[in-house]
Symmetry: C2
Subunit: 456 residues, 2 copies
């Protein structure tokens, strides 16, 4: 092979330094998931196609990676479909399995399949890769990790309160001050739709309203009018154009605005409970903000909707999201299973920590010391020493070959190992070690006990 090998578009290799940083984020999330009583499950990378197809809309189906049938099964290719240019049907005739597109649908499938073994309410977390045939761009890949925590089997709003706390706990541990947890409620959106008298215009409405900062009230109104939302309707929701203050202030305004909508008022009640309790308990790194333009996955969520915005100094959009869905498992035939969950965007969080220089310096996995190799006798003595140190849990290694000292020094440096230990003829005779700290250049001769003390 003449050309250098490469990897598929939108995928990545991770070097030791990158894996260490990613694991730091994953471990932080995991530790907090477990503190909040969530337990891990794992599902297969590929599911039967019928489990995934039709669950993410037409666009989603198009982005699902299908696994080609093996062996003789490809003979079943539906050539008529190909002729008719029905590529979806042609593809499906060649494939029975597909790579996981997210963790929510496999979780719903898991709950239904194992319903008799599961004790409800079931708090599960899942941290696994997912795949999408999307066009790669900054922070968007074809293979990426999702980190999800969901509770299924209870409608208690304490869970929403805990999920906000959980977000805050993770971002606090990551040192990410200034994160905004935006919250909304599907029922408030329904209430607004009622008030403007046009449910089908709801998305146009929220999209336009979301531009308030950028194009001002007049710009928003103009856009709404072009979308066919009436002057009268816009008048009714006038308060949303000066929608500011604390969550308490905002909820009061909403209570007035949505007074005639039963569903809207239910939404106000739910949000009031969540915001009051969160405020009473207090947040560290994050701020909770009510955002009525928040409408992600509108058809999916039925109660609370969450989205997390990175600290303002980073331009990177959402670093997490979630919400309540009252019929999570209905698609697989199990009714009345309300779920609520949140997700962390590993790659986005990575970019934010990198940009703000928030990764602790200690994150990288490297040996505490490189022992030089000065020949057979010395190496045999070093190996005994390494064994003793490793049994104490200390990460150490020996340069495998008796190369020139300069080369071994350079290896330690390039590997980012901060100290080297030299055993030459003298040290071997005296059963001691020359310890050199590469950070400050100091060097001293030490006993085994002293060496252990230094490296521990």
């Amino acid at each position: 092979m003449a050309t250098k090998p490469a990897i598929p578009k939108g995928t990545r290799d991770f070097s030791p330094a990158e894996v260490a940083k990613r694991n730091y984020i994953i471990q932080t999330i995991k530790r907090n998931f477990e503190k909040y009583g969530f337990q891990p499950i794992e599902t297969p990378s590929f599911e039967n196609s019928e489990t995934l197809l039709g669950k993410y809309g037409e666009e989603g189906d198009r982005l699902i990676f299908k696994v080609l049938n093996s062996g003789d099964k490809v003979k079943k290719a539906d050539l008529k479909a190909l002729e008719e240019n029905n590529l979806a049907r042609f593809s499906n005739s060649l494939s029975e399995k597909a790579l996981r597109y997210d963790l929510t649908v496999p979780f719903a499938r898991y709950v239904v399949q194992h319903q008799n073994e599961i004790e409800f309410p079931f708090k599960r977390y899942q941290i696994q890769p997912v795949w999408r045939a999307d066009n790669p761009q900054k922070g968007r890949f074809r293979e990426f990790y999702q980190c999800d925590a969901d509770v299924v089997g209870s409608k208690s709003l304490w869970q929403e309160v805990e999920l906000v706390q959980l977000y805050d706990a993770v971002y606090t541990d990551l040192g990410l001050q200034g994160v905004t947890i935006k919250i909304n409620n599907r029922k408030i959106l329904s209430g607004i739709a009622e008030v403007i008298g046009a449910s089908d215009k709801l998305i146009d409405f929220t999209v336009a309203l979301d531009k308030l900062d950028k194009i001002g009230a007049d710009g928003v109104k103009a856009e709404m009018l072009t979308k066919g939302i009436s002057e009268e309707a816009i008048e009714k929701v006038q308060p949303l154009f000066q929608f500011e203050g604390t969550t308490t202030d905002k909820l009061k305004q909403l209570a007035t605005l949505l007074a005639d909508s039963q569903e809207g008022m239910k939404g106000v009640e739910e949000l009031t409970f969540i915001c009051e309790q969160v405020n009473a308990l207090g947040l560290d790194a994050a701020v909770l903000d009510l955002d009525v333009t928040l409408a992600r996955g509108l058809n999916y969520y039925t109660g609370a909707i969450f989205e997390v915005a990175a600290p303002k100094e980073v331009k990177l959009g959402s670093i997490g999201g979630g919400g309540r869905y009252d019929d999570l498992t209905g698609i697989f035939g199990l009714k009345n299973m309300s779920g609520v969950g949140i997700s962390f965007g590993l790659d986005r969080i990575y970019l934010v920590l990198e940009e703000l220089n928030k990764f602790p310096e200690t994150v990288t996995v490297t040996s505490k010391a490189l022992f030089f190799n000065s020949g057979h006798q010395e190496a045999a003595f070093v190996m005994q020493t390494l064994q003793t140190l490793r049994k104490q849990g200390i990460k150490v290694e020996m340069y495998p070959d008796a190369d020139k000292i300069a080369k071994q020094f350079k290896h330690a440096e390039k590997r980012g190992i901060n100290s080297v230990v030299i055993v030459g003829a003298d040290e071997l005779a005296n059963k001691n070690f020359t310890f050199k700290d590469l950070n400050n250049g100091t060097q001293e001769v030490v006993t085994l006990e002293q060496l252990i003390e230094k490296l521990k």
Copy 2:
């Protein structure tokens, strides 16, 4: 959907208890990899097809899962190939990517692609799933994890010594006494082939010899004769039919037997070094045993060959393997890069630990206590308490709904949570807690400080 959903053949869902056990094994392996100076990398789940195809022989190619091209690209289907029943060509016309079949080829690709950023010798570990369209059976799945550690860029035999130690360290930590690390050397096999005068009969020879325990010396000889190995050749290797004793004894016999083979004697020399050093350093859980019938991946390995057998009381074959390959990266155009590595079979190790009842009881991830929910005021107080406990790193949770006490008790029991904390009207008034230990049924009223002490 009327029928209960299912997952594809040969794949698995892992419940919280199973994930916890798997992570216990993975963490043990990882911790030891790092103690020995190995650093983690990760590679994409799918590679370009040309990276994988042709690297695992014809049978291997057949077992590689291919990813179907997305969108319009399926129009490139090679219908002529389908007509001619050339299913491999037809499949390849529909697919440009394939799921990872092992971690070794992606590692070789990684080394070549990133050769300018890597500091050699490069000690990497990699713990990721791989996929094979194999027929599922006990301990064999279509999706499974491999845990590999390899060093590339040095021929030093100290690495073989360390890899044996590393095997031993992991099995010691897992409490798996009585593991046998079998070792052989490709050069010894070449030497035997020279002595029997028939390189092409080598595999027949080792396969027959391996049956010594089962069918006895006469049976083995009979089989060798039917395979076309001459009476004279069998006479020459007669010592291998009573090949017993310590590795030192065995190496002495081999040195006599292979005296005329230069390559064979090189193999004896290498093995002597490795065995002497390993014996000098000592092993804890494992025994090192020289096995001349060990011939796994014959065309692949060029020096040491390793295979680990589970403790004798478990009938389960190999739980790990590895060896030295002098031309790891040659397939991608980078010559003279010797590598040596070992692999741990996660699923097999899991089965062994399960069968021998060696998983520590503390392995499962559950909350330390379930706090009961006795209504709004009490719940709000409990939430404050949970916040305090979680900030101390304690895993706790509240039952989300104010259901009947009996139901909440049952939930704790079924979840395997060992203590419950009750906050009713009295406790709320006195700001204390009724703590109940479900293991021994004792119950007492405690302060927050006492509660923290109990749960820490």
